[in-house]
Amino acid sequence: MSASAETLQPGASNGASGHSSDERRADGFIVTVAVLGLLLLGALIALETAPFLVTLFAVGAVLGVALYHGAFGFTGGWRAFVVHKRSGGLRAQLALLALASVLFIPVLGTVEPGSAMSGAVAPVGVSLVVGAFLFGFGMQLGGGCGSGTLFTVGAGNIRMVLTLVFFIVGSVIGTMHLPWWLELPGMNPVSLIGGLGVWGALAVQLALCAALAWWVGSIERRHHGRIQQRVFAGPDRGFLSNLFKGQWPLFWAVVVLATGNLAVLLLSGHPWGITFAFGLWGAKFLQAVGVDMSQFEFWTWDYPALALADSVLVNVTSVTNFGLLLGAMLAAGLAGRYNQASSGRIPPRSLLAAVLGGLIMGYGARLAFGCNIGALFSGIASASLHGWIWFAAAWVGSLLGVQARPWFSLSNN
C-alpha cells in the first residue's frame, strides 16, 4: 500500500480517518507544538501586519482541520469513482460546489465594477485546458491535489513533502512559461453572473451540480445496486469525539470548507487559493540564491512583483497556507495519527511518482490559474466558466493518471 495516496481517499481507510471502534489518544506533543506554532505565528502576523491577515490565518487553520478530519481529498474521490464506481467523495465535492455557489454568487452579484473584491475569474484558452489536464494527471501520481498535498504535509506525511517540494519547483517553472502560454488562442474571462445575472447564474450552477450528482449516483447504483449514504451520514462516535478526533462526516467538511472560502473572500477580497504561494516561495528561494527573477515577465506583473518583494506574512495565500498546515498538524495530533501515513518503506517508484506528480501539478496549476481549490472550487463558486472547463480538462488528465499509477507501484484499490 502506498504511504501517500490513501491519506486522500475521502472517508476510506486512510491516515486521516478514524473508525468507530478505534479510540485513539491525542498526541500531546504534536498538539502542543501545533498550538504553539499557531500562537507564535499568529502573534507575529498580528504585530507586523493587519488584523484581517490574523483572521485569515485562523480561517486557514480551521480549513486545515476540516480537510484533515473530513479526509476531504479531491484526488481520492475522483479515483474511487473511476476505479470502483463509488461516488460518495465526488458527490460531496459537488455538494461543496453547490453550497459555495449559493454563498458566493449573491455576494459577487452585488460587487460594483472597480471594487477591491472579485471572484476567481480567469481567461479561457489553451493555457487553461493544457494546465488543468496536466494537473489532473499529476495529482494522481503525486497522491494529492493542491489542498490534499498541503494538509497531508501538515499531518506529517513524508512522501507528500517530496510532492510539495516538486510542486513548488513545477510552479516556479510554470511562472516562467505562463506569458508564452497566454499568447496562444484564448478568450477573456467569462462570468456567468455577468451574462445571466445572479439568479440565472445560480440556477445554472445548481442545475449542473445536481445533474452531475444524479449521473454519478446512477452509475454507482447500476454497479452496486445502491448508493452509499456517505455525504449526509452523521457522526459515528458522538459529536465531540468526532469533532476533535475525527473523522468528520463529509457534510461537516462541506459546510466548513464552503463557509471558510466565503470568509477568505470577504476578508481578503478574493476567494481561497493555494498554489500561487508555491510559485512565490520557489521564486523567493531562487531570488535568495542570486537569481534575478525580474528577467521573467510574470514576476514583473504588479501583483506577483510586489508579492515577491514583500513579506510572505502579508501575502494572503501564504498566510492561509501557513494556517492550513498548522491546522492539519493539530488535527492529526488530536487524532493521534501524526506521521502515521509514513510508517513503512516507501517504494522507490512511488517516490519517483511523487517527484513527477509534484512537478506536473505545479506547472499545470500555473498554466490553469490555480489548482482544485483556486480554479475548481473558487472558480466554480464564482460562476466563472474557467472553473467548469478546468474541471473537465483535469478529469481527463486524472483518467490517464489513474491508468499510470500501477507503473509507479501505486495501488488503485
Partner: protein, 65 residues
C-alpha cells in the same frame, strides 16, 4: 501510543521554516515601513490604493472594466 516520528526532527523542521519566514519578513518593505521608513510601496498600501481587484490566481491583472 506508538509514535512514527522523532520529536527533535519536528522541532528542527518547524524552527527552520519559522526562521525562513522571519528572515524573509525582515528583508521586506513591510518590515522597513514598520520600522519607520517612509515612501515604500507594500502589499498593504497596494491593497488600499488599488481600484480594481487583482486575484492571486496568476492570471494577468485586468484593468478596471
Amino acid at each position: 501510543m506508538q509514535r512514527h516520528y522523532k520529536r527533535w526532527r519536528v522541532i528542527v523542521i518547524l524552527l527552520l521554516i519559522g526562521g525562513a519566514v522571519v528572515a524573509d519578513h525582515i528583508d521586506s518593505p513591510t518590515f522597513r515601513m514598520n520600522m519607520g521608513e517612509g515612501g515604500l510601496e507594500t502589499t498593504l498600501t497596494q491593497r488600499q490604493s488599488q481600484t480594481s481587484a487583482c486575484a492571486p490566481c496568476g492570471a494577468p491583472c485586468r484593468p478596471e472594466d
